[in-house]
């Protein structure tokens, strides 16, 4: 490999040709401040529009300052990262950026986790000269079911645009206008609701400021908890337990299942249940559907569409309803675990405890922002009463716990309530990319072959590559599995299905990179993929700790079918646990 030698702050370093000054300096332990730059190493995505000009340095012999994020090292370069000229430029540019940014930090939803705020602090900005006559660029605020856009706070780092277009290929956001009025938003500056947005929340996850935030549903939850006429039931998604601890200073990958359960009970929820239970239920329904389609397909039935696509991820559902609405019969009709939980809680469980569904409030704790939109869909309610009333993100739960003076670090572990809190390891791994299909295979194998599965961990389905595939041997029948996480990767597999080129039996898609653990409602990872990997490992640890690791062995699932649903795919199951899809473009047009 060809290398170049250069000097940064009087220290010599040799780096591969093509390395940026920013990365070379980092190797020397020099952290040059950056604002717009974002490196998503594992996704092979680097956002470096060179727009903020905060990372500039002095390069000997160069007329102007060099942005280190996009300037490559050259042989013999002499770089100074903190001369008076550099520090003055950095400060002045920061003053420019702040002069066009609202100063309501105290009440901004990003306060405390805002990268712009951190940078102002790091650069020691104490005043913004000329603010009294500085015009600010202002825009209309837009509140969608999941995401709030406050473009007054946009600093044009373009990270959201990179996520929405390059990673997710959703194409809802683009830079518009020019000069001082430039910002990032949907076409015709319309509401996000009327765009191709899937509410995956990846834009929110990377926004350095308060320009993109989630809709806060904590006040509604608090109100329900204080209403004595309501029984408030909470469900927690698998990925939450692997990330919530980060909000309280714990190491990434710390499992807080027991502490989270205790905290939720302390917050006043009447029943603390687990979405993992509904994940097991999903496997029963989706697995049955898969086996049904597969066996019909093997018998030559042309109406049995193969591959089957998973349908647990609402961001993904929104995506195919918009871009692949002609393929509505390909995904499984099974609802997502969140919605299955809601449907069962407000029917089976409500009956069990003898209350009317109207007196029950179901709250879900989700890593995901698309779940907020999902639970508001018309088809997921009965006579205007939604199956899931409110969905709050991991981040919102953390704020809620802090508001309630609950010291989660020192809480003793507690167990979920029964029966909707009982789950197997298969339900847990739903949080990771590849997890849903692995869980499905654990069950499908045993039902399809009638034999006991010896090797539970399908490691060939695991990993962080964007598109993965593996062929499993179902006792002589090869089952080809495709996995995609990130909607851009999903699009690759989908296009093959559309063109009839797909050889897969089943495809799992999760909208967010890494799966639910990397969702838009999780604690902000600021592009550090090691955090996502630590969360993934924690999920697999939780799976290994479970005594039961196959969904169909969950005794409470068996009981639910015996007492209430009959069997997977029964009429009652179909009514409660399955859904249908729309052409979202049409729906948006009607709303417009």
């Amino acid at each position: 490999m060809e290398t170049v030698k250069l000097t940064i702050d009087n220290k010599e370093i040799e780096v591969p040709r093509g390395t940026t000054i920013l990365k070379a300096a980092k190797e020397l332990g020099i952290e040059i401040p950056t604002l717009c730059y974002m490196d998503l190493h594992d996704l092979n995505i680097e956002n470096k529009p060179g727009g903020c000009r905060i990372c500039v340095v002095e390069v000997q012999g160069r007329r102007n300052l060099a942005p280190t994020c996009s300037t490559k090292c050259e042989p013999g370069m002499v770089v100074k990262t903190h001369t008076a000229r550099v520090l003055n430029a950095r400060r002045t540019v920061m003053e420019f950026i702040l002069s066009d940014h609202p100063k309501d930090c105290l009440i901004c939803p990003k306060s405390g986790t805002c990268e712009l705020q951190d940078m102002a602090h790091r650069l020691g900005i104490r005043e913004i000269p000329g603010q009294e006559f500085a015009e600010m660029s202002t825009y209309r605020k837009d509140t969608s079911p999941s995401i709030i856009r406050d473009l007054d706070k946009c600093i044009m780092c373009r990270r959201c645009e990179t996520m929405c277009n390059d990673v997710q290929t959703v194409g809802a956001l683009s830079a518009f206008n020019r000069g001082f009025q430039a910002a990032v938003g949907p076409a015709f500056e319309q509401n996000l609701e009327y765009s191709s947005c899937t509410y995956c929340g990846q834009c929110v996850a990377v926004c350095p400021t308060g320009a993109l935030t989630e809709v806060n549903h904590v006040p509604q939850v608090l109100k329900a908890l204080n209403d004595p006429t309501k029984t408030v039931v909470v469900q927690t998604a698998p990925a939450v337990r692997a990330a919530l601890g980060e909000e309280f200073g714990m190491e990434p990958g710390t499992l807080v299942t027991g502490k989270m359960t205790a905290a939720l009970r302390a917050l006043g929820f009447d029943y603390v249940f687990d979405t993992d239970f509904a994940a097991d239920l999903t496997i029963m329904e989706e697995g049955t559907e898969l086996l049904d389609r597969l066996s019909r397909h093997l018998k030559g039935d042309k109406t049995a569409r193969i591959p089957i696509l998973t349908s647990c991820c609402p961001g993904w559902v929104n995506f195919f309803e918009y871009y692949y609405s002609d393929m509505k019969d390909v995904p499984s009709t099974a609802k997502s675990p969140q919605q299955m939980f809601g449907a069962i809680a407000k029917s089976y469980f409500a009956e069990k405890i003898g209350i009317n569904r109207k007196d029950m409030v179901v709250v879900s704790i989700m890593p995901c922002l698309a779940k907020k939109y999902e639970c508001q869909r018309d088809e997921f309610s009965v006579d205007g009463n939604p199956d899931v009333d409110f969905s709050i993100s991991t981040r919102e739960l953390a704020t809620f716990i802090k508001q309630a003076n609950i010291d989660i670090r020192n809480l003793h572990d507690e167990e979920f309530d029964s029966p909707l809190g009982e789950s197997t390891g298969a339900g847990v791994i739903f949080g990771n990319t590849g997890g849903v299909i692995e869980a499905a295979c654990r069950t499908a194998y045993e039902i399809f072959t009638g034999k006991k599965l010896e090797r539970l961990e399908f490691t060939e389905l695991r990993g962080m590559e964007g598109v993965r595939s593996a062929t499993l041997d179902f006792d002589g029948t090869p089952i080809k599995i495709g996995i995609a996480h990130g909607l851009g990767n999903a699009r690759k597999l989908l296009d093959d299905v559309k063109n009839g080129k797909s050889e897969f039996t089943a495809i799992e898609v999760m909208a967010c990179p890494g799966g639910c653990i990397g969702c838009g409602g999780q604690p902000l990872h600021h592009g550090n993929s090691d955090i996502i990997k630590a969360r993934a490992a924690a999920i697999y640890t939780e799976d290994r700790k479970k005594p039961l690791r196959k969904s169909h062995e969950n005794p409470f699932i068996i009981k639910l079918y015996e007492e209430f649903l009959g069997k997977p795919g029964s009429e009652k199951s179909h009514h409660l646990l399955h859904t249908h899809y729309f052409d979202r473009k049409d729906k948006i047009l009607v709303k417009k």
Partner: protein, 160 residues
């Protein structure tokens, strides 16, 4: 940017389709397609952009981004006689601004707007390369040189 709601006729959609396929439906040719469509329609309403987006396989947000980035593209129809006042250095120092003010006063519109009857629209531009004639005004394809504020009424009269 506000847009006027229009309903595209079949031949309009066909025209856009043809324009796109003339450029092999290549997303890289977006700007050329926009040029072609603006020449045809006189402006680029949202509905036209949506059809272009579909045929070039470019997100409509991107199309809108390009339309709002380049000042040449417009989402509001220009007047029958578009008036452009040069604000290049030479025209500016020789009183281009006063001429512009006079046009604004006479037409009762601001830069970037059209008169209610859609007869005139007003814009300013930077240097048409006729600095010897400064200040310069363009009405449609016709050039007027050494324009004084007093001449404005006369110029407008020519188009009545």
């Amino acid at each position: 940017m506000s847009s006027i709601k229009i309903e595209l006729r079949k031949e309009d959609v066909d025209f856009i389709k043809e324009t796109c396929s003339k450029f092999n439906n290549d997303p890289q040719e977006l700007i050329n397609v926009l040029h072609g469509c603006q020449e045809h329609f006189g402006y680029l309403p949202a509905e036209v952009q949506e059809v272009i987006s579909e045929h070039l396989n470019v997100p409509v947000a991107k199309v809108y981004g390009v339309v709002t980035f380049y000042s040449f593209f417009t989402m509001t129809p220009k007047g029958k006689h578009p008036i452009s006042i040069c604000m290049g250095t030479a025209c500016y120092v020789r009183g281009g601004e006063k001429v512009l003010e006079e046009f604004k006063k006479e037409l009762g519109i601001k830069v970037g707007e059209s008169t209610k009857d859609n007869k005139f629209s007003l814009s300013s531009l930077r240097c048409v390369g006729a600095c010897g004639l400064a200040p310069v005004v363009l009405v449609g394809d016709k050039t007027y040189g050494r324009v004084a504020p007093d001449d404005v009424k006369g110029i407008l009269k020519e188009y009545e």
